[in-house]
Amino acid sequence: MARPIEWQLATVAAVHDETPSVRSFTLDLPGWAGHRAGQHLDLRLTAEDGYSVERSYSIASEPERAGVVEITVERIPSGEVSPFLHEVVIPGDRLEVRGPIGGYFVWDAPLGGPLLLIAGGSGVVPLMSMLRHRARAGARVPTRLLFSSRGPDEIIYRVELDRLAAAGDGFAVAHTLTRQQPPGWTGYARRVDEAMLAEVLEPLGPTTRTYTCGPTALVETVANALVRLGIPPDRIRTERFGPTGT
């Protein structure tokens, strides 16, 4: 079993689009040590001249899938790594990865809940690992996902989230669309704020564990609001991405 800090070769098993600018990659990793929902991996690309770049990506898949890891990557046009992943990488390609990494922003089913997950854009990725883990583990912890996207076409994992919410096992999703809403939209239509958080949190109560991942501004807003709403600081776990993984 490879140690987390050692680089290992992954083979790209599948590639599929989540939205026009977000793509998921399934990686075969025979030596993968297994991960916890919410952890990352580092991915390294090395050019022929030896120049190399590394990026950290959240793992999207659940720990129950052995030997396989899925990452979901937003294409950042000015980036060095994500355009390569989007435009060049195809099944059969090999990539260097190390991991799993991280022990702070993780949730295991035995930790229990209730759970409030708050995502901005591709910040949903580590939270999706938690939701997939929750479903696979048969956990019925009351769980809400508050998911902020710019428009209806940019909702990552939309179909799967709808399916998970329809399972009737205590999971519900609330969307907010900040820039563009389709006709007849009944969800939220503004940036996440304290009033919205209070509504989503209300059925879960003050002992809720919260995990927030997204752009810095969203994370700061949410973390401060959750404190004011009475959530103990040790139940407010956050992960910011700067101008994202590029």
């Binding site: 990494i101 022990g103 702070y104 101008p243």
Partner: protein, 99 residues
């Protein structure tokens, strides 16, 4: 402290940072253990925080971790082909978990 923290939140450079949890791979290479859930004490303001919540500046040649309370530099790490350089002047102490 609140004033410094407010200034830091408004610092435009904050948008260029990620959390300490985003540099766990580099930290694991430097210390041989998962570090993002470990605690460390800032040598400047003496605040103890979880490494995963520190601010990580990753746009330079290495990684710089700053204290989430006072924004001073806590740790600098540069990976080179020869080894990993760790500058820990800003750190009073940090726990490396036994695994």
């Amino acid at each position: 402290m609140d004033e410094r923290r407010a200034a830091m939140v408004e610092d435009p450079a904050v948008d260029l940072t990620v959390d300490g949890s985003g540099v766990g791979g580099v930290l694991a290479t430097a210390f041989g253990a998962e570090m993002t859930s470990s605690r460390g004490r800032c040598a400047h303001c003496h605040t103890v925080s979880i490494v995963g919540t520190m601010r990580a500046y990753v746009r330079g040649p290495g990684v710089v971790l700053r204290c989430p309370a006072c924004a001073e530099v806590v740790l600098r790490i540069v990976e080179t082909p020869r080894g990993v350089l760790v500058d820990a002047r800003g750190l009073a102490w940090m726990v490396v978990d036994r695994r």
